[in-house]
Symmetry: C2
Subunit: 327 residues, 2 copies
């Protein structure tokens, strides 16, 4: 272990990400104070910026540091933020990453409209790149995000869900945008078809792993971290991978427990501990992590088609690090 601070893609693209921020601010109409306020709120509460970084790094692999990847990275962040705004309305969430959600502060009306505005702006940004192929990739991803969320509604509060249905959900709601963020970066950088497909595979598989880890964290965190409350998914009876895998192995009594807690949402304060005990008994968390790790391996091997350079090294690191996330 070196004591020097490790350089990450966040450092490599510091300047480009500032340009993304500028583009975001420029596009939040100052004549609509409420919209500007919501935008500022969202930028301050910014997350890991993983999606725009992926777009920038993919284009960087092919030596494209022009304005086009900046525009696409902004579009990708806008689409992501729009879905968060709408998710919070749909879920009636009060907090995200420890920060009050927009719908909590400004109401559902403003959140729905702000999401629509960001979504429309994202397409305007894409038009500026003059790339119909990048547009096609991101509009298809946007459709699939919504389809994934519909599917999620269909399987909600049902522990007896097929694992394929779960993958359809997370493939749509999370992995497609990761895939398209990468793919569109290669498209505007004039990559060939093999590279475009490889970029999508890299992003899509990271997205699957990313969501699995997100779902696992709810059952493994020792204490509340950065606004994520342990056991939130359990309390809402969300049909996530740990529940589905635990259900498959559970005996009759345990299945009754899942039906009561996840399907009927009749929970008492000891139930969460008991749920974790069942998962421990059947090594569910290990199984989830193994699956996530398999996806990361596919993701990394997708990079083989690209030339060796520092961006590729960073992209491999980023893939590996996404397995070690704790928040």
């Amino acid at each position: 272990m070196s004591i020097e601070k490790k350089i990450s893609l966040l450092d490599v693209f510091e300047e480009s990400l500032k340009k993304v921020d500028n583009e975001i601010f420029k596009r939040l109409d100052a004549t609509i104070p409420l919209l500007a306020e919501i935008g500022t709120h969202l930028i301050k509460a910014k997350g890991k910026r993983i999606r725009p970084i992926l777009t920038l790094a993919m284009a960087g692999q092919l030596n494209d540091f022009s304005r086009n990847p900046i525009l696409l990275a902004t579009a990708v962040e806008f689409i992501h933020t729009a879905t968060l705004l709408h998710d919070d309305v749909v879920d009636e969430s009060d907090f995200r990453r420890g920060v009050k959600t927009a719908n909590r502060i400004w109401g559902n009306e403003a959140s729905v409209l702000a999401g629509d505005f960001l979504f429309a702006q994202s397409f305007d940004l894409m038009v500026e790149t003059n790339s119909l192929d990048a547009l096609s990739s991101l509009s298809k991803a946007s459709c699939k995000i919504t389809q994934g969320e519909f599917k999620q509604m269909q399987i909600s509060n049902n522990p007896n869900t097929k694992i394929d249905d779960y993958f359809e959900v997370i493939g749509g709601k999370t992995a497609q945008l990761f895939g398209s963020a990468c793919e569109s970066g290669i498209i505007v950088a004039n990559g060939n078809e093999e590279q475009i497909n490889a970029a999508h595979s890299y992003g899509f598989n990271i997205g699957l792993a990313f969501q699995i880890i997100d779902d696992v964290i709810d059952y493994t965190l020792e204490k509340n971290v950065s606004g994520k409350n342990i056991g939130d998914d359990f309390k809402l009876g969300k049909t996530t991978l740990p529940i589905i895998l635990a259900w498959e192995k559970s005996d009759k009594n345990e299945k009754d427990f899942w039906i009561r807690t996840i399907k009927l949402l009749e929970q008492n304060e000891k139930d969460f501990e008991y749920a974790k005990n069942i998962m421990k008994k059947y090594k569910i968390i290990e199984e989830c992590k193994k699956l996530a790790s398999d996806f990361i391996n596919i993701s990394i091997s997708s990079l083989n088609v690209f030339p060796e350079n520092k961006y590729k090294i960073h992209l491999k690191e980023l893939a590996n690090e996404s397995l070690m996330r704790t928040k």
Copy 2:
């Protein structure tokens, strides 16, 4: 007056509109039953289809009857429907055109997601036309729709609103999509810049008139027609043109009345009649209709740049008829 049934654009484009319907159904993912259900519901409750007809007729003026105008007309209808779905969530509406709203039947979650899906699909349809200019026009219109709706929130329940602010609201939320529906039809039909601008002006001005008439009808209908309940806007204290113009002319007592009923929403059963009496006293409805008529005249004169043909004649008729709407 002829006793023969008058031919309208709805008849002229009957076959094309069927193709639009087919495109709509094709795009409503059958694997998501809820989405297919919502789509079917929306198509059954279909309105006047004025926006897709405008796209088809504009392209028709330049002899383009290819698949591209069909794709754009479908995209325009999807954008319109997406905004309706989100408006109903925002307004918590129970009925639209006498039919239960999607949010009433399937809940806010499904309505927000269905709107997002239609919006994403609309961009996918536009990509198929290969026209970045048409895409740009419709993505900019989508931004402006949301900006108009934000502005509408800002002026809500305020009778002392500047008329310019009202025009900014209806320009954004209604007229831009009319403008872009027309403009994009000319763009894909390879019209020149003068024709593109003229098409936008035709649609935009019809849109303004259309919304003014919509706002007037709330105070002029004799009885409830096709799901529109007389006085709904008044009950909600909506800041529409009749209110703004009446406020400007009102004396102290009448201003107090508007503040109580529109701003504070303290209403009793005789208030609506009294509101209509104030409007009668100052000839407000006539003034609104005069404004709408002025916009229609601009709209019709915009058509001068186009060659004489039956589509142009029908477009003039459509403009004039929009003044005579009663629902």
